[in-house]
């Protein structure tokens, strides 16, 4: 507890001169403003919050895990229905969306780098690009959902079996040369579409939350936050964003690609 004003002033001056700040601060028994009082060192704080973020992502894995389990079981049971359902998805839009997301992961990673190397304008640019790409993803997803709506593929509310009972007159199904499904099996396509909407919807919800946080971070970053050596928040958000991307990679493979070649 060194509270003489001179020393405090000295610490302040050191804090401004970038690199050796934290070392000098701890030497003086002071700590930077962003260090919470209950941590011994900044490193311990960064370590702990980082670890917490990984654990949180683990809970997210388990959360999505329930849906993946349901998908796995029902795909096994109703294989023809899941193949026919998958053929209704638009692989072009799906691929484009995958590229958009991977690009956003790149800009996010660059954002973390900018934050670490204290480039304020670079950080704002990277976060804004990530924000923009995230919005693009949601836009494309909306187009895809709209297609489903038009073809009456919304389970529960608005569902028609036409594409599966009479695939010859359905553009998407005809392209794959699908055979008509028996009524019993055709009805199970509704389960496929439910899982499609549940999984992509849950993913989209995570995207929306991520974009909202990005918006907040852009405002803060413009005001100079995250580029003073305290990068934990950007880093942890980056982890979250990459995680949401990885979920999408799995969804893309399981929902769009897996039934391309029979």
């Amino acid at each position: 507890m060194s509270d003489s004003p001179a020393i405090a002033h000295g610490a302040q001056a050191l804090a401004n001169s970038a690199d050796s700040a934290s070392a000098a601060n701890s030497a003086l028994g002071e700590h930077p403003a962003y260090q919470r009082h209950h941590f011994e060192t900044v490193d311990q704080q960064a370590d702990a919050t980082n670890f917490a973020m990984w654990l949180f992502l683990l809970t997210e894995v388990m959360f999505f895990g329930g849906l993946f389990t349901a998908y796995l079981i029902y795909r096994n049971w109703y294989y023809p229905a899941f193949v026919a359902g998958s053929h209704q998805l638009n692989v072009v839009w799906g691929t484009l969306n995958t590229l958009v997301l991977i690009a956003s992961s790149f800009t996010m990673a660059m954002g973390v780098w900018c934050s670490e190397t204290r480039r304020r304008r670079g950080l704002v640019l990277c976060l804004s690009l990530t924000f923009f790409l995230g919005m693009c993803f949601l836009g494309i997803k909306t187009i895809e959902y709209h297609e489903k709506w038009e073809k009456h593929h919304i389970p529960g509310l608005h569902y028609s079996l036409q594409s599966f009972l009479d695939p010859a007159h359905d553009e998407a199904a005809a392209a794959y040369g699908d055979k008509p499904l028996p009524l019993d099996m055709a009805r199970h396509t509704e389960l496929y579409f439910f899982l499609y909407f549940a999984m992509t919807g849950m993913h989209a919800l995570h995207m929306i939350i991520g974009i909202a946080i990005l918006g907040y971070m852009i405002v803060r970053a413009k005001a100079g936050a995250y580029t003073t050596g305290h990068v934990t928040f950007v880093e942890n958000f980056g982890l979250y964003w990459h995680f949401v991307d990885i979920i999408w990679i799995y969804l893309f493979a399981l929902l769009y690609l897996i039934s391309r070649h029979q």
Binding site: H37, H38, A48, T59, M62, F63, G66, A81, G156, R187
Partner: protein, 554 residues
């Protein structure tokens, strides 16, 4: 029993320290916006006690209805709502947060020599989520209740009843996140916040037990969350995932639900086992026998606990091979549980045992948990399970583990750490009486239910054949005694806040780091970060330490 280890400071001169975490700041807001783990623990303690007594009142109603064979006190559908609300409140709002959110929250940072949990704001958020969940449950009760049973079994909950399933589901979903955040916080804290010298194998076993329970909270609860989301979608939109007419399978819900809810019983019992390790060691003045074995048995329970869930579904139409495997795995859980019981017993062997209240409750725990655990093996064996499941045998088994085990452990812990939390002792004689009353009341309530179960009385009915009445009367009489046993601590503990003897730093002569601080502790727990230079439960170290202190005072 004159032998006692209690050593209190001279009451004529002793004072509660003026500056402590309770007096540091005043006003309601200083509590509602606090980041202090100790204050959050107190908030949790008040809220879970509140819900415990609501759940307890509902249990009273159940027993009152079952006093007579006919359904006369309430209509049968009201009875269904009453036992459902009893289950939901007791499981999600009392048992899951009971020890971790109160005692764990308060003492884990102190035991490892830290100033706070790693994420204080997340800790506060967890309490608020709990409160929102609790309010939704109260709303459900006011709006007319729900009658699915606490298990929300499909297709009953999705297709056949129209009570407040949605608000209850929402409550469970939100309370679940409160539990996730608590567990996450504990894991991070135990990994990153230990003081110098505090290695993993110097941690008090209380911390190990919480670590294991936290793994279950973090990995299990999200699966419950997604199960409840799917349930809600099935009810509202009719997506078909649990609907056989659309190709879905109601059993999938049970798989997802029990994937959390079986580990959840270990979430409930493991922290209780942590408490017992502390009290048994303290009140027999011996290091816990086989420290490493007890530590790893907690982790083993957590790991095995994830692979036994289908034993709740033996009669639900899962395959015979699944029954075989899950039956075997279920029996495996008995091994680490038995390791704990044996090791505590060996700790008692040749120890200097004294019989303060926490120790009485601990003995209660050991006996009742053993009975509860052993009957669990009966139920894990698929042959006997087919006869016994859905009877009162299940009810008795579960209550022996949860009420006889967990609640005893909770009360043991509350009494054990009460002097540290409040700075004052509880009155010893009356609390010993309460412990004995609880034990008698408990056995009278639930032992007859084992017999009822083997005779074939089904659970979840408001009426029963007249030949079962005598045992049910015993059970209801016992519940009355049990009620007194639970009411007493509330009264005398409240009384002790003002009139209890000043406890001093270490009234039990216990070894944990939490006993080296003042009572009640400072907001930052320790003036200087402690350095752990001895093993856990090292009574020789404590003796040397005290000798040194006396010498320096002279």
């Amino acid at each position: 029993m004159s032998a006692t280890i209690v050593s209190l400071p001279d009451q004529s001169t002793a004072r509660i320290p003026k500056v402590n975490f309770i007096t540091k700041e005043n006003g309601l807001l200083s509590w509602l916006l606090t980041g202090d783990h100790k204050r959050i623990a107190i908030l949790y303690l008040i809220s879970i006690t509140f819900f415990f007594f609501i759940g307890g009142a509902l249990a009273g109603l159940i027993r009152l209805e079952l006093l007579t064979p006919q359904s006369d006190l309430m209509a049968t559908d009201t009875y269904n709502k009453v036992f459902t609300m009893h289950g939901i409140i007791m499981i999600f709002l009392f048992l899951v947060p009971s020890v971790p959110a109160t005692l764990g929250n308060f003492f884990i940072p102190m035991m490892i020599g830290a100033k706070d949990l790693a994420l204080p704001r997340i800790n506060l958020l967890s309490w608020y989520l709990y409160v929102v969940g609790g309010i939704l449950v109260i709303y459900t009760m006011v709006a007319g209740g729900v009658d699915t049973g606490w298990t929300f079994t499909t297709p009953l909950s999705t297709h056949y009843i129209n009570t407040n399933v949605m608000s209850t589901g929402m409550a469970v979903f939100i309370a679940g996140f409160s539990s996730i955040f608590t567990g996450l916080n504990f894991i991070v804290t135990l990994h990153k916040m230990r003081c110098p010298g505090m290695t993993w194998f110097r941690l008090p076993l209380f911390c190990w037990a919480h670590y294991a329970a936290s793994i279950l909270m973090v990995l299990g609860t999200p699966v419950l969350a997604i199960a409840v989301v799917l349930l809600a979608l099935e009810r509202t939109v009719g997506i078909g995932v649990f609907d056989p007419t659309k190709g879905g399978d109601p059993l999938l819900f049970q798989h997802l639900f029990w994937f959390y809810s079986h580990p959840a019983v270990y979430i409930m019992i493991l922290p209780g086992m942590g408490v017992i390790s502390e009290t048994v060691s303290t009140f027999s003045r011996k290091r816990v026998f086989g420290y490493t074995a007890v530590a790893f048995s907690s982790v083993a329970i957590a790991v095995f606990g994830f692979f036994v869930w289908a034993h709740h579904m033996f009669i639900m139409g899962i395959s015979n091979y699944a029954v075989l495997v899950f039956s075997l795995l279920t029996m495996l859980v008995a091994v680490p549980s038995a390791i704990k019981i044996f090791n505590w017993t060996f700790t008692l062997y040749k120890g200097s045992i004294t019989f303060e209240t926490p120790m009485l409750y601990s003995f209660g725990f050991m006996g009742l948990f053993t009975i509860g655990g052993m009957t669990g093996v009966f139920l894990g064996a698929s042959g006997t399970d087919i006869h016994l499941t859905e009877t009162y045998f299940i009810v008795a088994h579960f209550h022996f583990v949860m009420v006889g085990g967990m609640l005893m452990a909770f009360l043991a812990g509350i009494h054990f750490w009460w002097p540290k939390m409040t700075g004052r002792m509880y009155p010893e004689k009356i609390s010993q009486l309460a412990a004995v009353v609880t034990f008698i009341g408990f056995n009278l309530t639930f032992f007859p239910q084992f017999i009822l179960g083997t005779l074939g009385m089904p659970r979840r009915y408001a009426a029963y054949p007249p030949e079962f009445q005598i045992l049910n009367v015993f059970s209801t009489a016992g519940a009355t005694i049990l009620g007194v046993g639970y009411l007493l601590p509330v009264l005398y503990l409240t009384w002790s806040l003002k009139y209890g003897a000043i406890a001093g730093n270490n009234p039990w002569q216990a070894t944990g780091l939490e006993w080296t601080t003042q009572s009640p502790p400072l907001t930052e727990n320790f003036v200087v970060t402690p350095i752990m230079d001895h093993e856990a439960y090292d009574y020789d170290w404590l003796e040397a330490q005290q000798a040194k202190e006396v010498a320096s005072v002279r």
